[in-house]
Symmetry: D2
Subunit: 304 residues, 4 copies
Amino acid sequence: MDVSGKWQLETIYPDLIVMLKVREVFYSGRTQFQQVEVLGSDIYGRSLVLDGKTQSTERDEHIYHESLVHPGMLMHPDPKRVFIAGGGEGGTLREVLAHHSVSQAVMVDLDREVVDLCREYLPNHHQGSFDDPRVALHHEDARAYLQNTEERFDVMIMDLVDPLEGGTAGLLYTQEFYQITKSRLKPDGILVTQSGPAGLISFQECFTTIFNTLSQVFSYTMPYQVHVPSFQTLWGFTLASDTELPHMATPDRVDGLIDRRLSKSLRFYDGEGHCGMFSLPKFLRLGIGDETRINRDDAPVFMV
Amino acid sequence: MDVSGKWQLETIYPDLIVMLKVREVFYSGRTQFQQVEVLGSDIYGRSLVLDGKTQSTERDEHIYHESLVHPGMLMHPDPKRVFIAGGGEGGTLREVLAHHSVSQAVMVDLDREVVDLCREYLPNHHQGSFDDPRVALHHEDARAYLQNTEERFDVMIMDLVDPLEGGTAGLLYTQEFYQITKSRLKPDGILVTQSGPAGLISFQECFTTIFNTLSQVFSYTMPYQVHVPSFQTLWGFTLASDTELPHMATPDRVDGLIDRRLSKSLRFYDGEGHCGMFSLPKFLRLGIGDETRINRDDAPVFMV
Amino acid sequence: MDVSGKWQLETIYPDLIVMLKVREVFYSGRTQFQQVEVLGSDIYGRSLVLDGKTQSTERDEHIYHESLVHPGMLMHPDPKRVFIAGGGEGGTLREVLAHHSVSQAVMVDLDREVVDLCREYLPNHHQGSFDDPRVALHHEDARAYLQNTEERFDVMIMDLVDPLEGGTAGLLYTQEFYQITKSRLKPDGILVTQSGPAGLISFQECFTTIFNTLSQVFSYTMPYQVHVPSFQTLWGFTLASDTELPHMATPDRVDGLIDRRLSKSLRFYDGEGHCGMFSLPKFLRLGIGDETRINRDDAPVFMV
Amino acid sequence: MDVSGKWQLETIYPDLIVMLKVREVFYSGRTQFQQVEVLGSDIYGRSLVLDGKTQSTERDEHIYHESLVHPGMLMHPDPKRVFIAGGGEGGTLREVLAHHSVSQAVMVDLDREVVDLCREYLPNHHQGSFDDPRVALHHEDARAYLQNTEERFDVMIMDLVDPLEGGTAGLLYTQEFYQITKSRLKPDGILVTQSGPAGLISFQECFTTIFNTLSQVFSYTMPYQVHVPSFQTLWGFTLASDTELPHMATPDRVDGLIDRRLSKSLRFYDGEGHCGMFSLPKFLRLGIGDETRINRDDAPVFMV
């Protein structure tokens, strides 16, 4: 193996760097908000990289997007109006639109250029979802949008970049922000947010804090996690609602819901996978129990 | 962050390399059989690296060793005599010895020098296990040992390096080898083997083949998987027996067994964790179903 | 310094890899003959990389091209007809055309696509040289071209990729090839060829062999070397002729020739620089003296 | 080529990192003053690395040390008393002691532990020089030593780490320091200092500033440079004196001096090599001419 050639380096932790052989650079440039790259590799196919961090890849984005979208959607009895913050690749939108019940998906992604680049370079991610007549796409800060809207949603999905210092989403993980989202959810509405890495090494970077912050605002919260290969670790998600979240403990129940309520079969998420995702390793349960930090606008907890 | 300094590179896949900052080199040298390094890093503490592959690290070896040992041990009603192949760090031995029921642990590791190095440099791994009077330690090829012994075991644990071409364990994953192990198990005995990477990218490297091969030899087999951070992916294990393996479906049952049958509390493995480990992602279940390859002495399937 | 981002890795020796931060990928693809990349970096500006090896960079190509072209051209009393093999970037052509005396420059580069890519992406290299009416550009194997031509040249310049096994130029460094070039040189003609790395670590890879091979064919040979930053080492060149090569020992003589015979000032090459280039370190002189290998068509010496 | 294994990364410029495969770590630790590593590689043999920067390697230290020591020593008519600042490996000392004329070598290296480590781990560097009865070895700051001594020297050799911010030698390259050295030189004494990288990319980091600073203090200064493979670039040196420095323009003169005045033959430095070293590339001569910065105690110019 000759290593000569182009590689993407990604600092996972300060002492751990992952090197990915790049076969093609589909796009590389700066938008108004961030550095964007669409890279091709033999392992992952096309990857979207924002500010040096892999957001999703053709090879495994279905793990991330199905895991983000379907548990919350299926826990809701009849999700008609869905809100998406971020999600520029269109993968979250694609999964939301697969639900028969959905009549409108409002997606707010700050960076129009990123969305345009994804539409051009990541067709296998969005699969034409942006052209669905149920979609309303806005390009502005999600927090500002929510503060100004009268709309109410059944499900709200936060598909945001990680809460990095100086990043674009630092104020979209705070107690104040979650108060705003709560006011825009219908009474039985459900919020779900990607919540950062959840592996043994990194679960305290933001996962437990996001969970704890949501728990201050909502009556019911539920954490889960799944292994996303291109993220190099387990990845965390959190569900939150003021109505009790159903446990859907048997695989059959989940599989039945998928059959009835989706217009397509899923590649990753199913009943047995659901059990795996919601069975948290002991260290995560202990970590959640021990967490006392709360993200606040004036003192956000940033990832290292 | 200045990257100047010593780094350990590890080729995970041909196009993916992980770089770990090395803080200390405790040992580096060749034994009769392999290249050995004991490295220290801020992330993982002390790591054992054989032929360039991380075998286990102080930070997360408990995930690997508890997951390898306890499911099979607890599925057995009363494991008295336990066989371990490989396991030079002593972590597997440590977990086996924590079971009250164990009266003898026979460990066969080919490489005496590796075991001696682990005893010296990895005290937090073995925690003195090698000095337990119940331990019989042999240094020879595990296959040769088993062919020549009259002993019969309740549980046999294969804690081997991956089946790499030219490696030391290529013939310890074949149908013929499993026939030998079967003949050394008591009628209700249980075998478990580490089975290589089980993530979306790499589960076909050896995991599904090992499962399929064991299924040719034993009446009952059961795969499971867990995320081991220092392996950079999910990791697979396979249980095999000619007696039906219990499902232990409720967390409480597992937690109760742990309480009753172990002389210590566990850091990773528990009832809820058990559910997560045995709830296989859809792609793994499909991959297992599709696998037709069988490891045979004259045509072993090597990892890439 | 965060190392996240795109880097070009180049294996200089098997145990030494250079990583260059890539700011822009201007082109990346395969031609009929080789992998081509035009990369932009803060350090070197635009680089041409063929089959993973840096050929020249905007920042320091003038060192390489001026050193390759001018010593031989100025040693010739009146170079009118000049032959160039390789040289796709156009930098060698640019330097040749700066000589008032030149009436025709015949350039033969195998790979039309590379030349077209250089014309498009490396304007600061060629600076429009390809449009000079004195240029005749051919795309075929330089050896075949020379075997079939009746032309005779004053100066022949070999600006070829290194003699790598499986590369495009393996047979353009052999005794048989040099016999052909000799037959196409006018009686007082001078040949010069890039001759690979000439630093302490690597001068035996091909530099001394090329020198020794040329010495079998030509009555007079003269080695020289210069530090080219982007090549990470000293770089070797060899002059050869059947007419005695002048030593031009005083800086003033070289500076005077540059003034009179060139239509532009030079950035790197001058009288004092000439002295530096032709004053070989002791290890190189000893290495040349010790070399016995000869490149032959049926037994070429390839770089590692 | 499998890249798995230990590598030393060294940041040469912020966008250029060199990776060296490490075969052995002979020593790694912190002294009172700096991080020290003695590494073994196939390319370079044993390397001394201080604070992440390669100081010298077994393979090419003779290029550096012979180039640092002999030009100044041979320009002096009869060097008896020699001062060395730094030079912990003992290579500079070794070269100084090879001069018949030397009756005393005073070496002041701040870091006793580094010198002890070099004595233990770098025998091919020092070759027993520390045991020569002409040597007086002191461990304190070289500036303090010189301020307090009544001694006067024929030749003073500054073999120091680069002037890095926060490093140990920042105040050993300033105008004020050079005033002190001048006062400790005999009237016809000569000072020479290593002067940092002198390649096209990096000569402005400190080389031209050191030259310019010395030129403020001494009547005569003379720069030279040589390619040191393990430094990845040309390396600069500066001679300074209040007596005119001889040009030694003919190789024969240098070779004759080496024969007469040294007790051993040299591996790198000779008459022709001298010409190469003192024939500066045009960009260096222009760079020196353009330089206006002066290192002062209250405003030192640090390398990036």
